[in-house]
């Protein structure tokens, strides 16, 4: 009988564990929001987070965007050769980069680079009692470690997305004009004419949402890590997995919100 019930017990345990994590995360998120509104504010930690999340992510964002834009131009050129390629390629590269690929790829790159780094750093601090030390030094760890990173990510990832969009479009432009023989002026005109304000707005809003998710997941898993090296490893892995899935889910929701009507 016990053997028959074991699979159901396992499902039950995992469901309860998942619900428990969702509850803990909801409380963590609410506490973060509440601390954002109350002093003290740690300006130096905020500026450090801006530098780490924004400036240091620029190379990886730039490389990802330029290759994606170039590949996108080649794909569209190949797939749309029967139509008016001079207008279709720049339009689809622009809309593809700005609406979807730019924000999603930047979000995923930030999740890989920043979320993992935040989770590993905070988890190590927890394992080595640095989080407890912060508390004994009258410093709230959530306010000192989480809030500056969360705000910095919300502000700086949209900028990264904007830069990624521009570099991605430039990648498409470079491939189209250098390799496919497009007229540069026509390419730019077709890009600018086709893009709408809503496209750019959606891109930046997605960037803010993805940045918030990436930072929050890193902080949450770091603060709730288990003991030892294994705990740090699991926190890091869990944070990146959760951030990536949530970013893709949020992308779907935001796309529905902006463009489904």
């Amino acid at each position: 009988m016990n053997a028959l019930l074991a699979p159901f017990a396992l499902i039950g345990r995992q469901t309860l564990a998942l619900l428990s994590m969702v509850g803990r995360f909801a409380i963590f998120f609410a506490q973060t929001l509440s601390h954002m509104l109350r002093p003290p504010f740690y300006g130096r930690e905020f500026l450090t987070a801006i530098f780490n999340i924004g400036w240091l992510s620029l190379p990886v964002v730039g490389m990802t965007a330029i290759f994606t834009g170039g590949a996108l131009a080649l794909q569209i050129y190949d797939g749309s050769s029967r139509f008016s390629v001079e207008s279709v390629v720049p339009q689809i590269v622009a809309i593809g980069m700005v609406r979807e690929l730019g924000p999603v790829l930047v979000g995923l790159m930030v999740a890989a680079r920043v979320t993992s780094s935040i989770a590993a750093e905070i988890a190590t601090m927890k394992v080595t009692e640095q989080i407890d030390a912060l508390t004994t030094l009258s410093t709230d760890p959530l306010k000192y470690l989480v809030v500056p990173r969360f705000i910095a990510a919300i502000l700086v990832v949209p900028v990264l997305v904007g830069i990624g969009d521009i570099i991605g479009i430039y990648g498409g432009f470079a491939v189209a004009t250098e390799q496919l023989g497009f007229n540069p002026a026509t390419y730019i005109r077709n890009t600018v004419d086709f893009l709408q304000f809503n496209d750019i707005l959606s891109s930046l809003v997605k960037g803010a949402a993805f940045g918030g998710i990436a930072a929050l997941m890193g902080c949450y898993f770091g603060m709730h890590s288990g003991r030892g090296a294994q705990g740090v490893g699991q926190a890091t892995k869990g944070s990146v997995q959760a951030a990536a899935v949530l970013i893709l889910a949020a992308n779907f929701l935001l796309t529905s919100l902006f463009f489904a009507t």
Partner: protein, 248 residues
């Protein structure tokens, strides 16, 4: 005075503290001894709110430790962690002056640095250590920096969590002497957790032994050897034979 009154704490099915009663008089140095996993660190951390007991009360100067302004409450404490718990993202002087660079005890940066250098000197470290990062220090130096941080804001109460763990006997002796000197000089109330009987004899005014989730024995350090308590006697002698199971 710190008073533990019937303090209970469990982690899952494991009951760690099962009714701890203990009084630590103001200005005295209490050392808590006991086997690994008996809840010594839990007891210490429950005073600071790092662990929340399920039952019982902890009073500091007659006031419940969980009530009132927690920041002001914590500002009365200094703590030396077992591994130092130094912030590796900042240089030594900023670690020592952490409390003086932010919050209610904030001072101008130059003044905070001067205090940090002075505290480093007090624990036997030269000013050139101030600009190093914790990863550049030996274990003994990290403990000293941790000690300097614990005393930087001149706290009334200082906690030491296994201050000599991982150090060689000579460095352990240096740390023990520093703790004794500093506690006496500052007139602070001290609570130390250790397994090291040499530390107990060097640091303690009073000793309490935690076993089975309760205080098994407590009294002045001078009476420890003649206590007649079989648990304490076995712990002091380090014998595998006695009421404390060797395999736990």
């Amino acid at each position: 005075m710190i008073t533990f009154d019937n303090v209970h704490k469990s982690f899952g099915p494991k009951k760690v503290l099962q009714g701890v009663n203990l009084k630590i008089a103001k200005g005295t140095s209490m050392v808590i001894i006991g086997g690994s996993g008996t809840g010594k660190s839990v007891l210490l951390k429950s005073v600071l709110g790092l662990v929340t007991p399920e039952q019982g009360t902890i009073l500091v100067d007659g006031k419940d430790a969980t009530m009132g302004d927690h920041d002001a409450f914590l500002a009365r404490f200094g703590m030396l962690f077992q591994g130092g718990a130094l912030f590796d993202s900042m240089p030594v002087w900023q670690n020592v002056a952490f409390r003086l660079l932010r919050g209610s005890l904030k001072r101008p940066k130059q003044e905070a640095r001067e205090i940090a250098v002075e505290k480093l000197r007090r624990v036997g470290l030269t000013p050139d250590v101030a600009d190093l990062f914790p990863s550049e220090l030996s274990g003994g130096m990290q403990k000293r920096v941790g000690l300097a941080r614990a005393i930087a804001a001149e706290p009334e109460i200082i906690f030491f969590d296994e201050p000599t763990t991982g150090l060689d006997p000579i460095m352990s002796g240096v740390i023990n002497d520093l703790i004794r000197e500093i506690v006496t000089e500052m007139g602070a109330t001290a609570m130390t957790i250790t397994h090291d009987m040499t530390s107990v004899r060097a640091i303690a005014d009073n000793v309490a032994m935690l076993h089975g989730g309760v205080i098994q024995w407590t009294g002045p350090v001078a009476q420890m050897d003649a206590s007649g308590d079989p648990y304490l006697t076995q712990f002091i002698s380090g014998s595998a034979d006695g009421p404390i199971e060797a395999v736990r």
